[in-house]
């Protein structure tokens, strides 16, 4: 039996992270502030911090679920980990490449065709044209959009888009996977296919951060959970406990 005590290098380390947004549309943008501090100046009242003081670690190969009500910052958290948003407080360290599927998109450009998007996205993930060629058919076949390879993605239905996005992201072979609500949109067959892929990847030792409202999915795949509570300090623990707290929360009606 391998020594279990040795802690593997963490895949994701989040330390005391917080982010704020402006509530009103008309932010008071102090140009001076913006240039000096790189932040928009907002009055304390108009600020909304979905979460603050968020700290957690995700070990390599671990799968962590993120739960919370709408607007509690689940997608924002994934964005922060993906490095496509910057926190206002704290630090985030990610060891390894990230494949992110946030809000059902892998970064599609609407007026490009499915084919062009696959090549564009995989080139941005560091694949050469030849490497993409090898994967292309598989990506399309899995997504079930073979007939529409040359259709602009903006004409895709949201389900088709989600399938394609999931297919691309999972084949980028990044060690860390961020998944936001994929399973919520697809039909039954697609959900089952997704589940098989996710299980495969987890047994491959990949790390996953999963946002979901589906308790059984969370129980099935995640060992730990993070419960983001609007404007309160987030909770973190074994998935069962976290789910229980989430379901028992009196705020949650």
């Amino acid at each position: 039996m391998p020594p279990k005590k040795r802690r593997p290098r963490d895949a994701i380390v989040v330390k005391d992270v917080g982010i704020k947004f402006a509530i009103n549309r008309r932010r008071r943008i102090g140009v001076k502030n913006l240039l000096i501090e790189g932040r928009t100046a907002t009055t304390g009242v108009g600020e909304y911090w979905p979460f603050r003081h968020l700290s957690f670690r995700v070990a390599k190969g671990e799968s962590v679920g993120v739960i919370g009500r709408n607007g509690c910052g689940k997608s924002t958290l994934l964005r922060l980990v993906a490095g496509v948003m910057l926190p206002d407080e704290g630090t985030i360290q990610v060891n390894g490449g990230v494949g992110a599927m946030i809000e059902l998109s892998a970064g599609f450009v609407g007026d490009l065709t499915a084919r062009e998007n696959v090549y564009l996205i995989s080139s941005l993930h560091g694949f050469t044209r030849e490497q993409t060629d090898e994967r292309f058919d598989e990506i399309m076949r899995w997504a079930g959009v073979m007939r529409f390879v040359d259709t602009p993605v903006m004409h895709f239905s949201s389900g088709m888009r989600a399938r394609l996005a999931f297919s691309i992201v999972t084949r980028m072979e990044e060690p860390i996977l961020l998944v936001d609500e994929v399973l919520a949109v697809g039909d039954r067959a697609f959900r089952r296919k997704c589940a098989a892929v996710i299980e495969n990847m987890l047994s491959d030792g990949r790390t996953m951060l999963l946002v979901s409202h589906n308790e059984s999915d969370l129980r099935r795949w995640c060992t730990r959970g993070i419960y983001l509570r609007r404007e309160q300090d987030p909770l973190e623990g074994p998935i069962e406990e976290i789910l229980e707290m989430y379901l028992d929360d009196p705020d949650q009606t």
Binding site: R39, V84, L86, G110, I121, S123, L124
Partner: protein
């Protein structure tokens, strides 16, 4: 490596065909030629005169005009894949630079028709190109990031570019300005660049190196400003996308 691939993709999708790169400036030149012919304000070999400055000007103007939208146009990619955000405006500048390069044969053809050979100033041309590239990169970073948080920038920039077009010696040589005006005009970093471009074909209009010094200073300042503002505004920009 990543940047390069991103660029090739952009480039493949942006260039509608080589013909456009020649046709557009050619139409520009003929429009101004006709317009100014009517007002009897032309200079000898006016088509070459305009071509030598309007192509570099178009390079600058297209960069500035398109930079207002680059980040928003790429918002899906920016919010899905973690890459240095600078590459999006830089890729845009690269596309415009390639288009500029593709339009250059037009000048050569016009010069050949008139039988004009480039003067010794052609050796200083790389300076003009380098300064203009620096200005383009700096402004693209500056405007693309600021416009995302302050939409007013977009409205203002069109007007500024239009005004600057007439304030810069594109359709006329700097020589035509009175001495005092000339001194003021030299503060505009585009002046030295345009004058240098023109001197390649029309050394007689050259007024000295002073504007070029200002171009050099302006280019460095704008470039540094562009990178530093972009880095500072980035956090706010990402929340807007």
């Amino acid at each position: 490596m990543l940047v390069d691939r991103g660029l090739r993709h952009k480039y493949a999708n942006s260039v509608l065909g080589y013909a456009w790169s020649l046709l557009e400036p050619a139409l520009f030149i003929s429009t101004y030629f006709l317009l100014l012919k009517i007002f009897h304000k032309t200079y000898p070999m006016y088509p070459l005169f305009i071509a030598s400055t309007i192509l570099p000007w178009q390079w600058f103007a297209t960069v500035v005009n398109s930079s207002t939208g680059t980040l928003r146009a790429n918002s899906r990619l920016i919010t899905s894949i973690a890459l240095p955000r600078e590459i999006y405006p830089l890729a845009d500048v690269t596309v415009k630079t390639v288009e500029f390069a593709l339009s250059l044969p037009l000048i050569v053809v016009i010069a050949w028709i008139y039988g004009v050979r480039p003067s010794g100033y052609v050796f200083a041309w790389p300076l003009a190109l380098a300064f203009e590239l620096m200005i383009c990169v700096g402004l693209a970073l500056l405007i693309s990031s600021l416009n995302t948080v302050l939409r007013d920038v977009e409205r203002g920039i069109g007007l500024v570019i239009r005004a600057l077009f007439y304030l810069s010696p594109v359709l006329y040589p700097l020589q035509r300005l009175a001495g005092s005006l000339r001194g003021v005009a030299a503060y505009n970093p585009m002046v030295g660049i345009l004058e240098l471009n023109r001197a390649i074909w029309f050394p007689a209009y050259w007024t000295g190196w002073r504007p070029v010094y200002f171009s050099a200073i302006g280019a460095v300042v704008i470039l540094l400003l562009g990178f530093s503002v972009f880095a500072r505004v980035e956090r706010a920009v990402l929340k807007e996308l």
